[in-house]
């Protein structure tokens, strides 16, 4: 298993992502944003941070980077892609995932542990998809622009299609996200994005190892 973790100017969680990939199994390497070559990796992580300073809108500029063009082609061929926080914003801007992430309702940067309810991302009927870790995951959030938003009809459609991957547990929505949505997947089931940071929840020393299960599910679809 070979992982590629994108690195933009302004990325800040790529090292933790590399570490999480390696813990989940396999080797991981950084892919610089100017590279069009993904070096034949089996899965791609678009990490958190503030790519290109988040100028214009979070993720808007990163979307047009050579590496993201390569990721879009990789995703179109069914390659697994995991977008975390800023990476989720980039994937939404790139139209690889439905919806958009807006300024938190509170206008405050949030940074704390949350519980996530895991919903149907993938499942037995979709073998080329993320496997569904059961139950509830404890994973930190840290963002200022994480309010998931989509038009009502789009929300209805992605819910009907099982594309809502994670919701914040009742009463824990940290940012005003529509329908408590914390993460979504694409229609095919090989692109997954979420605002919380699974790469920061891989060691018991920091309170939770639940994040590893998300990386393991990505590894599962690459296998």
């Amino acid at each position: 298993m070979r992982w590629g973790v994108l690195q933009f100017p302004g990325s800040c969680d790529e090292r933790d992502a590399l570490h999480a990939c390696e813990l989940a199994g396999g080797e991981a390497r950084l892919i610089w944003h100017e590279s069009r070559d993904l070096n034949g990796v089996d899965a791609v992580v678009v990490p958190g941070g503030f790519s290109y300073g988040d100028y214009l809108r979070a993720g808007a500029i990163a979307r047009f980077s050579p590496a993201m063009e390569a990721v879009a082609a990789f995703a179109a061929e069914g390659g697994p892609v995991l977008g975390i926080c800023n990476g989720f914003q980039v994937l939404c801007e790139a139209n690889l995932l439905p919806g958009a992430l807006l300024l938190n309702e509170s206008m405050r940067f949030v940074c704390h542990q949350v519980d996530l309810l895991v919903e149907g991302f993938g499942g037995p009927g979709t073998p080329k998809s993320f496997q569904n870790p059961d139950g509830q995951l404890s994973i930190p959030v840290k963002h200022g622009e994480g309010r998931y938003w989509a038009p009502e009809e789009m929300l209805d459609a992605i819910e009907a299609d099982g594309q809502v991957a994670f919701r914040y547990a009742p009463g824990q929505n940290p940012n005003g996200s529509a329908r408590d949505i914390a993460g979504v997947r694409n229609e095919a089931g090989n692109v997954l994005g979420l605002m919380p940071h699974p790469e920061h929840a891989v060691d018991a020393m920091t309170g939770s190892t639940d994040g590893l299960r998300i990386f393991e599910s990505v590894a599962g679809i690459a296998a």
């Binding site: 214009l56 801007e93 958009a100 807006l102 938190n104 206008m107 938003w149």
Partner: protein, 77 residues
């Protein structure tokens, strides 16, 4: 080169926390009776081919899912 100004604002119906914060600050400054404040962005640019501006706005300057945009010519202004 044609000078243009692009106005970008959050779509109707989308909560705009920045606008709300501005609105809430106004009474303390003595400005009563101000409602529905929305905060957007202005991009000024010079274009060789202004006919391509709408495409540029849809692809980069605005996210059409969440934002509306208007292009104003400011030539001769």
């Amino acid at each position: 080169m044609a000078k243009a100004r692009v106005l970008i604002r959050p779509k109707e119906g989308i909560l705009d926390p920045q606008g709300k914060a501005v609105e809430r600050a106004l009474p303390a400054l003595g400005f009563e009776g101000i409602e529905h404040v929305r905060v957007g962005r202005v991009v000024e640019l010079e274009a060789e081919d202004p006919a391509r501006l709408p495409e540029l706005c849809e692809k980069l300057l605005a996210n059409p899912l969440i934002e509306d945009f208007e292009i104003e010519s400011i030539d001769g202004a």
